[in-house]
Subunit: 383 residues, 4 copies
C-alpha cells in the first residue's frame, strides 16, 4: 500500500479493491436474474434467492486463486453463487451470460464510482483555479516562452488557461465515460442466444437497474469507448500536470513567485531541514509521466480478435484502473495546492521589472473574462 | 517516398508537403493583414500588397535550411515576406504575431484538409460495411472467442459491429477536430499586446476568414485538444485495425471464409507464386501498430512550460501529421478491401457445421437492425 | 488481489509487497550504519543498535499514510528508526543519506529478487523449448507467412526460433539488471558531503554488503540503466508473447496443431462447456499488450531535472515493478504450457498436405542444430 | 523537408532517402548472386551481369507506386532487375530469397550508415562533455533537487554525470546495433529451401560481403534485436534530453548560469528582438518527447505471427528510421551547444551564495575523476 498511496487516494483504492470488484460482479448477476424474472425467463422466486445470495460474504483471497487458475473471475464466482442458491435456483444463475459480460459490467460499475470521485475533486480544483484567475486577473508577472522571459502577462491569465485546460478535459471525460461505462450483456458469442428472443429486453432492464449506458449491440470486441475513456483520463492528468509543471518552475528559489502551501510534515527532506519540496506537483508530474503510455495500451488493444479476443480485453481493466487511480491521485494532490497556493505578487513584480520588457499586459484582463465566461457556460446544466 | 507510400496515400502526402505548409503559413499572414486592415491597425493598401506577396513562389528547400537554423519556420518566412512587400508594407507584416501563431494555425489549416480526406474515405468505408451488414445479416458463421470456436453468429452481426466501431471513431474525430483545428493568435506571450485593444477582434475576423475554430484564449501551452485529436485518430486507426485483424484471420487457408479482392499485381509474393497476401490488412495492421504510441506522445507533451513551452509543442506537429497519414493510409487500403470483399458463405457454413455448436444465432438479425439504425441516426445532419 | 493474480504470480507479489519494501529500505539503513562504523564515522555500538532496530516489526499501513503525506517513505521510516534506537544512536541514523538513496537502493534489492525469479522460470521455459525443438526438429508442418500458408518448415525450427528469442531476451536482461540494480548513495545533492571524505569508501562497503553494483558516481538523475532494464523486461515479455501468439493461432479449431495442456478447471468457459481456452497464452498476450508502453514510460522519464528530479524518478518504481510482475506472470503462465504442450503431428501433416506446397523443409534440421548450439553456448558460464 | 530538417540532419535524411534504400536493396541482390555463384548455385557470368545491373539508375518515384501497389518493394524491384539482366540471367536473380530478406537486409545496411553518423557525433558530444567536466571539476554551483535549491555541487560533477549518461547509452547502442543490423536470408518460410543445402553457406558469404552480423537462423519473426536497438536509440535520445533539460533550466533569466552559444540568426524570436531561445535544447527535448513511444512501437510489434508476420515487421522500418533521425538530430543540435557553452561561473557563485547552503561540495572533485576514469576505460578498444 505504501507505493499505492504515493500515487493515489485511499478512496480510489477502495473503489477498485477486491470487495468492490466482487460486489460489482454480483450486482451484475443479481440484476440479470431480476431482469430475467421480469421477462419471464426464470421464476421470480429464483431471482429473489439469487439477489439475496449476491449480498453474502465472499472469501476474496480464495476467489483470487480460483479466478487466476480458471482464467476468469466469473467461473469460480458463478460456481460459488450456484452452490449458495441451491440446485433449483442454480439453473437460473448467470443464464445466457458469459464471463466477459460480468467482467465488463463490473468494470463499468466500478468506473462510475471512480468518475464520481474525479468529478467531485475536478470541480474542487476548478473552483480553486477560478478563484486564482479572478483574484489575479490583473496581477502582472513575466510571461515566459521557451523557458525565457518574454513579455508581461497577468497571473490570472495563466490561471485561467489552466482552468480551461482542466475544464476541457473534464468535459471530454464526461462524454467518454458516458459512452464507455456501459452494460455488457451478449452471452458467449454476443448473440443473446438461448434467451427466447428476450435478450435485448433483458439487457434494457438491466441497464436501467444498474444505471448504465446500453450500446446498440454487445461491445465485447468493439472497444473504442474504453480507449476513448482512457485517453480522456490521460488528457485530464496531462492538464493537471501542466499546472504542476508551471508551479514547480515558479517555486524555484531563483524565481520564487508561487509556492505550495505549508503543510506540517509535507514536502520535507530526509537530508535538508531548509527544504520545502513541491510534493503535490511531484505527485501530479509523476502521474503525467505514466498516464500517456497507459492510454496507448488501451488504444493498442483495439484490434481484438473476432467476437471476443484473447489477451486484449484482459489487458484493459488493470490499465484503465491505473488511469483512474492516477487521475484521482493527481487531483487529490493538487486541489489543496491550488486552494492554498502562496502567491508572491511582489516577487512577480520584481522579476518582471528585472526582465525589462515593460508593463503592457495587452488584453490579458479581457481574456481572463472570456475564459471565465466560457468556463461558466460549461457549468450550465444544459450545456 | 517508397516507405511513405507504403503507409499512406499520395493525397495525404500532398496535404502535408512543403508547398502546402508554406501556403498555409502564408494564408495566416494574409488573413492577419486583412483582419488588421479591417480593424484599422494597418493600411488597407499594405494588406493588399501582403496578400499578393503571400501567393508568390517560394524556394521551399532554401527555406527548410533557414528554418532549421533559426529554430522556427516563421522567422525566415516573415523575413522573405517583408523583403517581398517593400520597406513600407514590411512594417505591417506579422504585426503582433509570434512564430507559434503561424505554426499552429498552419497545422490547423493543413489538418482540415486532412480531416476532409479522412471523412470522405471514412464515409466510403462505412458505406461498404453497411452493405456487408445488410447483405449478410442472416448469413450464419462460427462465432469465435479467445481464438476458439464458440457459438453461431451471422456475418452481418460481425460487419455491423465493425461499422459501429468505425462510426463511433469518426464521430469522435469530428468533435475533436472541430475543437483542435483552431486559429492561434496571441502574440509573443499570448496577451495580444501591441494591438491597441483590438487583438481579439482581429482574431475573430481571422478565424472567420480561415474558417477555423476560435477558443476563448490563445492555446499556446493548453494542448488538450491536440492530444484529443491525436487520440481520436489513433482510435479510428484501431477500429480499422480491428477489421483487418478479423479479415486476416478469416483469410487463413484453414478458415478461408473471406478474402481481399483479387487485384492484379497486389498481394503477391516475391518467392511464392501461389500466395495471395492480405495486403490491405497488412497496411491497416501496420498503422494500428504505430498509432497508439503516437497518440501517447501528444498526451505526454501536455505539461508544457509556462506561456509557450520548449520542445513540447515542437514535437507535436510531426506526430499529429504521422497520425493523419496513417489514418488515411489505413482507410485507403481498407475501402477497396471492404468494397470488394470475397465472402465464402459455403466455407462459413462448413466451418460452422464442423464446430458442432448448432445453428442458433440468437438475436443476431435483430441486433444488425439495431446497429444499422444507430448508424443511420448518426448520419442525420442534426445528430 | 483478484486482478493482480490474473497477471502475475504470488511469489512476485510477495517480492514487492509492503513488508518487502520496508525490509529493503531498512537493509539500506543497516548497511549504511555498518559501513559508516567500519570507516569510523559512527560508533560501532550505534551500528549494532541500528542494525538490530532494522529487523523489528513495522506497522506498514500506518507508514503508508505517513509516507504519502511526507512525499517520500524515508522521512517517516527514518523518524521511526531514530525513535527506536534512542537519542544517542539516533544521530548515527541515515547519516549523509537522502530519501532517494533509500528508495533507489530498496528498489534494487527488491529487483534482484525479482530477477532471480525470472531467471529461474526463464530457464524452465527455455528447457521446455529446447525439448520441443529437439523432439520436433524434423516434424514437418506448414510454414505460414503474412497469415497465409507458405512453404513447409519443421515444428522444431519454429520452436528453436522461440527459444532463441527468449534466450536473447534473457541475456539482455542479465546485462541490464547487472547495471541497473545498483547501490544509490550520494546524499542530498549527490556529493557525499558531510562524510569526511569517506563517502565513497562507505559506498563501496555498502555495495559489497548488499551485493549490488556500484556505478562511478551517484545516479540520482542518470537513469539510463533503469530505462534499459525496463526495455529488457518488456522485450522478454514480447518474446514470450510471440510464442503465445503462435500457439493461440495453432490452437484454432480449424488448424488444431497444438494445444495447451489440459488442466482441470483451467481454460473453461462460464457459458460453453465444450470450450478449452488458451488461458496461458491469454496471460502472456495480455502482458505483451501492456509491457511496451511501460518501458516507454521509463525512457520518457530520462530527462529529469538537475541533481534529483521532480516526478520523474518517482514515476519509475511502480512502472518497473509492473514490468517485473508482468514478466513473471507471463513466464509462470507459459512454462507449464510449453512443458505440457500437446502437439498433433498428424494435424500438422494434414494441413501441410492440404496446402499443396510439397514437403521440402530445406535446411530446417540443420538450422535447428545451429540454434541449439548457439543456445548452449550462451549457457556456458564464461559466455 | 521543412519539418524533417527541424528534427534531423541532412546527412541522416540522405541515409534513408529512396536512392539509398534502392541501393541497399540492390546491394542485397548483388551479394546474393555473387555468393550463389561462389557456391555453384548460379553461373558466375550471371552474377556479374546481375551485379552490373544493380548499379544502374532507378526511377524511384515510379518504383514507390509499384511497391505500394504490390505491398512490398522487392516485387517490382526484382521484376525490373530481371528485365534488366535478360531472360537467361533473370533465372538467377533473387534465387531462394523472399521480400523480407531484401527489406530487412536493406534496413540493416542503411542502419549501419546511420549508426556511423551517430557514433561520430556521439564521440564529439562526449568530447565536449569531457572538456566541460575537466574544466569545471571544481567550479561550485548550487545543486538542485526536486526543483529546489539543495546543497553545493560542482558544475564538473553535473557535466560528468551527463557524460556517463551519454557514454552508457552509446555503449548500449553499439551492442544492440551489432546484434540487430544483421543479414536476413531465409527464403519464403525461412528454411533456405531450394538451395541444394548450400543456403547457410550462401548466407555466410553474403554476411561477409555486406559486413553484417549473421544470427544462427533467420530472424523474420524473431525481432528482439530490432526492439533492443530501438530502445537503445531512445535511451540515447533521453540521455541527451537530460542535458537539454538541465541547460534550459540553467538558461532561465532568473538563473542565468549557462547559455547556448550565440549563433547569428539562431534562437531568435519572430516577435521579440531581445530573446535568445535555447534552440539546440528545443530540438533535443522535442526528440526526447517522441522517442520513447517509438521504441514502444517496436517492442509492441514483437508478437508477430508465425514464420513471417502481417503488419508487425512492416511497421518497424519507418519507426526505427524515425529513431535514427531523432537521435542524429538531437546530437547535431547539442554538439555545438556543448562545444560552445557559455558558462557564467560568477552567476553560479552568486546563486549558490544566495541559497545560503554553505560551500561544502563534498567529494565532488574526486567523483569527477572517477567518472572520467570510467569513461576513458570505455574508450579502450578492448573494453
Amino acid at each position: 500500500m505504501i507505493r499505492d498511496l504515493a500515487a493515489t487516494s485511499l478512496e480510489m483504492l477502495a473503489v477498485f479493491d477486491d470487495d468492490a470488484l466482487v460486489a460489482a460482479a454480483l450486482a451484475f448477476e443479481a440484476a440479470l436474474a431480476k431482469a430475467q424474472a421480469e421477462h419471464g425467463l426464470i421464476p421470480a422466486a429464483h431471482a429473489e434467492i439469487i439477489a439475496a445470495a449476491c449480498t453474502g460474504p465472499v472469501d476474496t483471497d480464495a476467489l483470487a486463486f480460483e479466478a487466476a487458475h480458471a482464467g476468469t473471475l466469473a467461473i469460480p464466482l458463478v460456481k460459488r453463487l450456484r452452490e449458495a442458491v441451491g440446485a433449483e435456483a442454480a439453473k437460473s444463475v448467470h443464464l445466457g451470460a458469459t464471463s466477459q459480460d460480468v467482467a465488463d459490467t463490473a468494470l463499468s460499475l466500478q468506473g462510475q464510482e471512480a468518475v464520481d470521485l474525479i468529478e467531485r475533486d475536478g470541480a474542487a480544483l476548478m473552483a480553486g483555479l477560478l478563484r486564482l484567475a479572478e483574484t489575479h486577473a490583473a496581477t502582472p508577472m513575466l510571461g515566459r516562452t521557451l523557458l525565457q522571459g518574454a513579455l508581461p502577462i497577468t497571473f490570472g491569465l495563466k490561471a485561467s488557461s489552466w482552468l480551461l485546460g482542466v475544464d476541457n478535459a473534464m468535459q471530454r471525460l464526461g462524454i467518454e465515460a458516458g459512452d464507455a461505462l456501459a452494460l455488457q450483456f451478449g452471452g458467449a458469442a454476443g448473440t443473446l442466444a438461448g434467451l427466447d428472443g428476450k435478450g435485448r429486453d433483458v439487457a434494457e432492464t438491466m441497464a436501467e437497474t444498474l444505471d448504465l449506458h446500453l450500446p446498440p449491440t454487445p461491445w465485447h470486441s468493439r472497444r473504442d469507448a474504453i480507449a476513448g475513456l482512457g485517453s480522456a483520463l490521460a488528457i485530464l492528468i496531462g492538464a493537471i500536470g501542466k499546472i504542476a509543471r508551471d508551479l514547480s518552475l515558479l517555486a524555484q528559489g531563483e524565481v520564487a513567485e508561487a509556492f505550495e502551501p505549508r503543510v506540517d510534515g509535507r514536502g520535507g527532506s530526509s537530508a535538508m531541514a531548509h527544504k520545502r519540496n513541491p510534493t503535490g506537483c511531484q505527485v501530479a508530474l509523476a502521474a503525467a509521466a505514466r498516464a500517456p503510455q497507459l492510454a496507448a495500451s488501451l488504444i493498442a488493444a483495439l484490434p481484438q480478435e473476432h467476437e471476443r479476443g484473447l489477451g486484449g480485453w484482459q489487458a484493459e481493466a488493470p490499465v484503465l484502473i491505473e488511469l483512474f487511480k492516477l487521475a484521482h491521485g493527481s487531483l487529490a494532490a493538487m486541489v489543496p495546492v491550488i486552494a492554498g497556493l502562496e502567491v508572491d505578487t511582489a516577487a512577480m513584480a520584481r522579476n518582471l521589472a528585472a526582465a525589462k520588457v515593460g508593463d503592457d499586459v495587452g488584453e490579458a484582463e479581457a481574456m481572463v473574462a472570456m475564459a471565465l465566461a466560457a468556463f461558466e457556460a460549461d457549468l450550465e446544466p444544459d450545456a
